[in-house]
Structure formats: structure tokens, C-alpha cells
């Protein structure tokens, strides 16, 4: 049996805190972006707005939970932020794109 350190290093504790924040806040950003992107774009395929919102929000909660799992699977805390914030940024851009497009034209 390996002997444990008598106290865990602060770098480890910081990593746990960073991942927890990435999971809760980054995951929330990802979930928001999923629901926003689907709510904006599903109506293009003929979905009524409220239907798009419900479908997007149902999926968003699943993404949230899976994002939390992924944050604690990542080897490094930075990976946890990347795995949530990068797709969140992409999806947020997708959700906001029609507005930008409209203002440019």
C-alpha cells in the first residue's frame, strides 16, 4: 500500500477548486450556449419558437451534467476550462450570428 502524503499540496487543492469552478460556471456557460444556439436555429427547420426553446433546454441540462463529468476526467485543470468554454464560445457565436449578420447588412 502506498503511503499517502500527510497533507495534500496546495497545487492539488487549487486544481480541484479550478475544476469545480470550470464544471459549475463553464458548464453553465456551455448549457446556456447550447440552449441559445438551438433556440435560435431550430426554427429555421420549421420548429415553432417555443418548441425550439424546450428542445434546446432539455438538451442543455444533459450537456451541463456531461460537461461536469468531463471536467473531472481531464488530466489538467486547464483542460476542464477548455472543454467547457471553447464549445460554449463557438455555440454562443452561432447563437449571436444572426444578430450580427442582420446588423451588417
Amino acid at each position: 500500500m502506498t503511503s499517502r502524503p500527510s497533507s495534500l499540496p496546495w497545487s492539488y487543492r487549487g486544481g480541484v477548486l479550478s475544476r469545480a469552478l470550470a464544471a459549475v460556471l463553464g458548464g453553465y456557460a456551455l448549457a446556456s450556449a447550447v440552449s441559445a444556439a438551438l433556440s435560435v436555429h431550430l426554427p429555421r427547420w420549421g420548429w415553432p419558437r417555443s418548441e425550439a426553446v424546450v428542445a434546446g433546454t432539455l438538451l442543455a441540462f444533459l450537456f451541463y451534467a456531461v460537461a461536469v463529468l468531463a471536467c473531472f476526467k481531464c488530466r489538467r485543470a486547464a483542460g476542464a476550462w477548455a472543454v467547457t468554454l471553447l464549445p460554449a464560445a463557438g455555440l454562443a457565436a452561432l447563437a449571436l450570428a444572426p444578430g450580427w449578420w442582420g446588423s451588417v447588412r
Binding site: M1, R4, P5, S6, S7, L8, P9, Y12, R13, G15, V16, R19, V24, A31, S32, A33, S35, A36, A37, L38, S39, V40, P43, P48, R49, S50, E51, A52, V53, V54, A55, G56, T57, L58, A60, F61, L62, Y64, A65, V66, V68, L69, F72, K73, R75, R76, A95
Partner: protein, 552 residues
Amino acid sequence: MRPDGRAEGWRQAMAWLHTWSGLVLGWLLLAIFVTGSLAFFRHEINAWMRPELVQAGPSSAATLALAERRLRELAPDAPQWSIRLPDGREPGVQLAWREPAPGGGRPRFETRAMDPATGRLLDPRHTMGGDFFYRFHFELRSAEKSRWIVEGRWVVGLATLAMFVALLSGIVTHRRIFSDFFTFRPGKAGARSWLDAHNVTGVLVLPFYLLITFSGLMMFHTLYLPAGIAAAYGAGGKGYFEELSGQKPGSVQRQRGTTARPPGPMPALALPAILGQARAHWPAGRVERLTIEREQDGKVWVDVAAHEGDRVQYRAPSLRFEGVSGQFVQARDVDAPMARTYGVLYGLHMARFAGPGLRWALFGFGMLGSAMIATGLMLWVVKRRAEAGRRGAPPPGAGQRVVEAFNLAAIAGLPLAVAAYLLANRLLPVAWPDRADWEIRAFFLTWLACLFAASLRRDAWAWRLGFGVAALLWTAIPVVNAASTPSLSLWATASSGHWGIAAVDLSAIAAAAVFAACAWRVRTPARASYQASPAAPLGKPRVAAVAARGGA
């Protein structure tokens, strides 16, 4: 999450996450599960806690006219009336009306109970009844008119997310779900039997846990996750509710929360004719509620809602009529597929559709979930003890003592607090000022006292005492009930066929037996491996023990 930062597989990573996501808000989750299970019976608990309503007679064809006449006396010029007809689970007609608050504040709702047979107003004791458990379950309600409702909903939402994460990571961790199902070794010493109990309770009704957790998040999606609504409807989300409930936007102007009072009194209404049309529309269904709304221009709309228990999907369909002429305006129901999916998830969580058999089954599932959480919390402590015992480690650190104290206060203390709430309903004088809030204070003060006691001692003796006192209090419930309100004694309710009310007393006896058994079992050899911790106060500085470590 290995402290040395080396790579690990999904199972190891998820085992760590399962442990900590379950522990961090585990005690709150236990309280949410227990109160949610009680909320399946909130109408029955309401009836038990308002003994003055048991004298209400049966409803008849004249009941609606009686209710209308009574509302004309109570609130002739209110902008909104609501009449809830009795349904067998809770006696009495509920009359409600909205008073526009002076100065533009939020409008107030007033409610009264009426005897359906005579139209006489009933005067039940002031209590939140079973609705307290219902409201605590999703918003941590701490007083009849609490100011912290939104904050409470957010905390419950965070706990629900933690539950969802713990369930999913638990599934990854316990891959052998099918074989775990058949593995229970109650005689085995130490962590093994706690782990088996945790696995069995976790696996047995796993789909129920997933459903109740996911739907719980979804039910408050407009609060928790408004991004989609904001993206599609703009920041205020204006129009979303209308479209979600199947109305065409702008088809009917609703003046929700208006502060102005429409001029004059409520005009004469064609309520019996409207009810007749609604009954013809739903020949096999029941009518739950009539909502009468008067607008600024004098128009009156009557919405007749079908009974929520008549189908799984929530909300029930409704019919709109013109109030004065009684003319049918439109039927409202949700038929879009996603909105119906949401409605079914919502309805499964609320379980209004469940008859007595299914309701008891769902309550049992909720109790299994509570046992799953409780055994998980115990497992955290027992595993660490076993490990420390093997290594001859120093006594438990502050972190472990805090967990032990919270475990004791949550597992043995919460049932004690629930019993105190029910007993306060009978023991507080009927005319006591603020008595509804004092009942709730009895709940929280008892719980707090348990936490204080648990901070002093957490050994086997303390557990036995906690369960023993819980058994005594639950035994006292039917006794105090019979002594203080003879009309509601178990004997009286069972012989008059009020089984919903009798079930509260019978359940109290069953709960007392369970807690007595728990108190007895604490000292048997099977639990001897749960070693008594030295009675160290929480504040004692720890020596060298590690409270937070990697690995499950």
C-alpha cells in the same frame, strides 16, 4: 483526481467525482428527497393538519352557486376569483381572490375554506400543512411568507445538479449494475455491507432517480437556464409562456398582476351553465378549478381547468368561457411534441395522476432514494475509518468530524424535526399568534438542536439516542392527535372511512417502528464495525489527519 497528477481512467475519475458530488450537498439532498416524498401526500397531510375541515359535507350540484354567493359577500369587487372544487383527497371548497395591493405592489391572494354542502365558511387552524414539505422541497421555504424563495430555488437547483452528476458518475463507477442488484451482505463487517446497501438502493429504482432529478431541473428551466428563452424571445421572454401553453400569442389579452381595480362589482355570472358545458366536454373527467377574471373594460373570462390528476401530462387542459353570457370561447391544451414531452416530465414529477397504490410506490421509491443518500453519506465515514484503522492512523480530523456530525443531524435529526412539525400542529393553541410560522420554527429549531447535539457526540450512543427520540416522537403523534382532536383520532377516521387522514397516523406508527429498529440495530455486532468516535468537540485542532484526499 489523483494527487500525483497521473492519468486515470473514466472509472477512477468518476469514482472520485461520485464521492465528492454526493457528499458536498448530500445532507441537503437527503432533506430534499425526504420532504419531496412527503409532498406526494401533501393533500392528505393538509387534511390531517386542518382537523376543522373534516366536518365538511359532500359536494352537490348546488356547491358552485354557494361558492359564488360566498365570494360575492367576501370580495364583490375583486378582479379575480378562483374556486377549487373538492376532490376526495382534501375536503372543502377552496375560495380564493386577488386583491390589488395599494401602491402598485404585488397583488395579494386571500383564501378561505367553505363547506361544500352548506356554504358555511370553515375556519381551520392557521397552518401551512403538507404544503410546507412541498415548498421546502423546491425552495427551502423557511416561513409562511419567506423572502428567500428565489435564493432557495437556486440552492435546490445546485443540489439537483450535484445529484444528477452523482447519479451519472455513479453509473460509470458501478458498472456491474445487474450483479450489484443481487449482492447484499448485511452480515459482512464494515464498509462492505454499507456499500452493498448503497448499491442496492441506488440500482433498484435508478430510472426513478434519473427522471425525478432531470425533471426537477427542467421544471425550473425559466429560472435556471433562461438563455434559450432570451435568445428566441428577447430578454424578458415575453410571449414564451403563452406559446408554451398552446395559446396563440396575443389571442387573449391577459392583464396579469395589474394593480388597477376594474370599476364596479363582479357582474352576474352564468357559472352553473359554464360548468355544465365543461362537464359535457370532459364526460369522463373531473373539473378542478374555475378562475374568474375581470378586465378593465368590464369583460369577464371564466377558465375551467380539468383535474390535474386525470392524466399524466401537466398542466391540465382548460376551457375558456365568456363569463356573463356563458358562451364558449376556446379550448386550451398543449399539443406540440416538445411541450408535451416537457408536460409529461413535469406530470411524472408531480404525480398528481397517481392513485393510492402508485402513490405509495412512489413514496417508497423516494424513501429508497433517501436510504441511498444516507448510506452513501455513511459510507464516506465508514471507509475512512476502516482505512485509518488499517494504518493505525491518528484520530479523525475536523473534516471527518464535521461530516459525522452532519450525518447524525441529517439522518436521525430530520425525522425528529418532521415529527416536531406535526406535533406542533396539535400542541400549539389554535389562537396562537403566527402559529403557522411557529410550526415551521418547531421544525427548524428541532433540527438545529439535533445538529448542536451532534456537534457534542457522534458515537453509537448518540445515534441510539437520536433514533430513540425519533421513535418516541413518532409514537406520540397518533396519541397526541387522539387526545387533542378526538374527531380525528385513528379510531374515528378509520371507522368513518377517512383513510387519507388515518394513513398519516398509521404511517407515524410505522415510522416509529422503523426508528426503534434503527436504535436497536446500532449496537448489534453487524454495526460494531462502525466504531464509536471519541467524543471530541468539533473545534478541536486536528493533529495530522487528512480530511480531504484523493480517491474514493
